[in-house]
């Protein structure tokens, strides 16, 4: 929670807090500590598996550990079979490409968090955005309409579809007081079924040209609709990167300005801090909840648009049993960034770096890519009590006191208490 004016009276005015006492510094350190612990535990798991499994040597375990930390710089193996590291344009370009949807789903979760809502519905919003984007991008003939215009329409369609889908849990929450977590989970599965149904009924969108691709929807490049590379392919030749990452960063900056510099953004944050106080202050809390979820949905929809408009990604349409992981991974991205839209850019890139490391681990060792998912889960687990880590850093809380004196009330209320909104879990 970035800029709540919560500095205690002592520190106000002239005495600017020292570097380590600043709220932002502590948040960053807490996140870094979480990352470090996550990676360390991941390494321990690698070594433990090698210790209990005769077919895995300690040498390959050590390789796995190195890839956990430096997988992004991996350049494969040399003639002697040792791992080599260096600047790998393909890895870094792919990292930026994969970060694009993660940044946007991370923003989606973060905006909802700021309004006190836990948007676990990003996968569903992502899927609805996918369907809308692909339908618009593939059904408007590029022979008659300029491809750039189709691109824009498809992008907007994804955002609108996501917004509409996201507003459903918002409406249920504000009008009927249904817990948004349950509503989001149900809408996720409904979206998965609807999208499967939609593509099942639209044979013209399926990829019939290539054999073995019948389960996939056509790439948007088959209609000539492709996100511009914006010269990024010159910097990272051979990778999948395109202009989408710049658009994602731009959106993150816009969301940051919106949340911290506009009245409406302040309103949303007020609702998130205390819905009843906001209502007392004359804010229409019910409307704000719906709008916040709609914005969150739009962002998740944009994630889908940018991902599938890249032209080289394919959508497996029979998805009624699975939800896209990129939607759920928005949660760790947002948590790691402490819901700060600008920090989401970095945490999104970091998460996709872990993804790339996972692929390197899979390709180069006997381990597999799920190791990085474990690390991500550990980071989420730690961020649940990031407040504690922050207090540890600032020395307000000591681990080995049997009965600590009640610490002075932390300067900031537990960042996400509102999000859980325990009382309303009744739904």
């Amino acid at each position: 929670m970035a800029k709540r004016n919560s500095v205690s009276p002592l520190l106000q005015k002239n005495t600017r807090p020292t570097f380590f006492k600043r709220e932002g510094t502590r948040t960053v350190i807490a996140s870094l500590v979480s990352i470090a612990i996550g990676m360390a535990l991941g390494s321990i798991i690698i070594i433990l598996v090698a210790a209990f499994n005769d077919s895995i040597t300690m040498k390959s375990a050590w390789e796995g550990v190195r890839l956990v930390f430096f997988g992004i710089f991996s350049t494969g193996r040399n003639a002697l079979g040792g791992l080599t590291f260096g600047f790998n344009a393909v890895n870094i370009g792919d990292m930026l490409f994969r970060a694009t949807p993660l940044i946007l789903t991370g923003l989606s979760v973060a905006v909802a968090f700021k309004t006190g809502l836990f948007n676990i519905g990003a996968p569903g919003q992502f899927l609805m955005g996918t369907a809308a984007t692909l339908y618009v991008a593939l059904s408007i003939p590029s022979a008659k309409v300029p491809a750039a215009l189709i691109w824009l329409l498809a992008f907007l369609a994804g955002a609108v579809a996501g917004a509409l889908w996201g507003s459903i849990p918002g409406l249920l929450k504000s009008l009927l007081n249904i817990n948004e977590v349950i509503a989001c989970i149900m809408t996720n599965w409904i979206a998965a079924n609807l999208v499967t149904w939609f593509f099942d009924a639209h044979n013209e969108l399926k990829n019939a040209a290539e054999s073995g691709k019948i389960g996939y929807v056509c790439k948007t490049s088959s209609n000539g609709v492709v996100t511009s590379k914006l010269f990024l392919d010159k910097i990272f030749p051979g990778s999948q990167v395109n202009g989408g990452i710049l658009i994602a960063i731009l959106i993150a900056v816009i969301v940051f300005i919106f949340m911290s510099k506009t009245t409406f953004g302040f309103e949303l944050k007020t609702v998130g801090s205390n819905r009843y106080a906001a209502k007392y202050a004359g804010i229409n809390d019910k409307r704000d909840i719906v709008i916040s979820m709609a914005i969150a949905g739009a962002l998740a929809g944009c994630a889908a648009s940018l991902y599938y408009l890249s032209g080289n990604t394919e959508f497996y349409w029979s998805t009624y049993q699975t939800l896209p992981a990129v939607g759920f991974n928005g949660i760790p991205v947002a948590l790691l960034a402490a819901n700060n839209p600008l920090a989401v850019i970095f945490s999104g890139v970091f998460m996709s770096m872990l993804n790339i490391s996972g692929l390197q681990i899979k390709n180069l060792t006997t381990y597999n890519e799920y190791l990085t998912d474990i690390i991500i889960a550990i980071i989420v687990y730690l961020s649940a009590f990031s407040l504690l880590i922050r207090m540890l850093i600032s020395g307000q809380f000591k681990l080995f006191h049997k009965k600590p004196k009640l610490p002075p009330q932390p300067e900031e209320p537990p960042a996400l208490d509102d999000a859980a909104s325990g009382k309303e879990a009744s739904a």
Partner: protein
């Protein structure tokens, strides 16, 4: 008809037992969003245990029922162990319970898939010998000749059933009594309603919440294994098709009381059963699969359980009575 009821029970029993798991956690004041993750973990542990036991030939198909019971105990134990991660963060560290639960939901599939890939070099862990010959109770298991007519109820309750179904029903009844008719149950419920008052009467809120979440984890672990046994032929793939979340919905629909939960679990089981096998369900035995013939898309049936959950929640949300203190970390000093 027998097939329909048995198939419904295949889905209803794990939903029922996992929803009860949710009740134990929430009644003690902890939102257990991690049910899904614990189920995934329990299913994996169970399948792995059965795999090792079959390979180690400690058991034979004749003693399969014993193996089933032992596996359920093992799954319960590891489910409880896994849930300690949640109670540690939620009770001892007073962390956000929704995020803690989400973390476990992310951790379980990742850990399970990681281990499955290390052990089996693929994305699914199967047991070496058929679960049907080992665990399913059939006429032959009971010494009844194959072609003997044992009547409708005999077919329903004695042929092609799993012992785990009955164990779970007994467990469900016993634990419901525990929750409502014993001192422990009363204390547990009081911690979910008003922990301050409970504390003032000398009840250790932290311990009680640990107990509630641990029972919850054990039940969810067992439920995960039963799901794997009934719905996926005793294999583990790092997912349980959203059953943990569906169980949460069943719990809310059942208004946190065991009786209503049993009813709503059967209802949801029926929906799930229709979605899975609507094409072959023959209600009146005339050889016509009626549901497949009325021409409704299969997608509608698949979508139905989730849609109905939302609609039901919309209608019952005003009346629902969640434990008052759930989701709020207990703070002695708070007023």
């Amino acid at each position: 008809m027998v097939f329909l009821i048995q198939q419904t029970l295949t889905y209803a029993i794990p939903l029922m037992i996992v929803a009860l798991a949710g009740v134990f956690a929430e009644r003690s004041g902890i939102i257990n969003l991690a049910l899904e993750g614990i189920m995934i973990f329990g299913a994996f542990v169970g399948v792995l245990f059965v795999k090792y036991m079959q390979e180690g030939s400690l058991f034979t198909p004749q003693s399969g029922q014993w193996l089933l019971l032992i596996t359920m105990v093992v799954c319960g134990f590891f489910g409880a162990l896994f849930s300690l991660l949640l109670s540690f963060s939620a009770v001892s560290l007073k962390a956000d319970q929704t995020i803690g639960g989400t973390a476990l939901n992310l951790l379980a599939p990742a850990l399970v898939l990681f281990l499955i890939n290390v052990l089996a070099k693929q994305n699914v862990l199967r047991i070496p010998q058929s679960s049907a010959t080992w665990f399913m109770i059939k006429k032959s298991t009971l010494g009844i000749p194959k072609d003997q007519d044992i009547g409708f109820f005999g077919e329903l309750f004695l042929n092609k059933v799993y012992l785990s179904t009955y164990v779970c029903i007994i467990l469900f009844v016993v634990l419901s009594i525990l929750l409502y008719k014993t001192r422990f149950g009363l204390r547990l419920r009081s911690c979910g309603e008003n922990p301050q008052a409970a504390d003032s009467l000398g009840i250790n809120v932290a311990k009680t919440r640990y107990a509630g979440t641990t029972i919850s984890g054990a039940l969810a672990g067992i439920g995960g294994f039963i799901y794997a046994l009934g719905a996926s032929g005793c294999s583990s793939t790092g997912e349980v098709a959203g059953f943990g979340f569906l169980a949460l919905a069943v719990m809310i629909f059942g208004n946190w009381t065991p009786g209503n939960i049993a009813f709503s679990a059967i209802l949801f089981g029926l929906f799930k059963c229709i979605a899975a096998s609507y094409a072959t369900i023959d209600l009146n035995g005339d050889g016509v699969a009626w549901l497949a013939q009325i021409g409704v898309s299969s997608h509608v049936y698949r979508l139905f359980p989730y849609l109905i959950t939302l609609i039901v929640l919309a209608f019952t949300s005003k009346k629902s009575r969640a434990p008052k203190a759930e989701g709020i970390p207990y703070d002695k000093g708070a007023r």
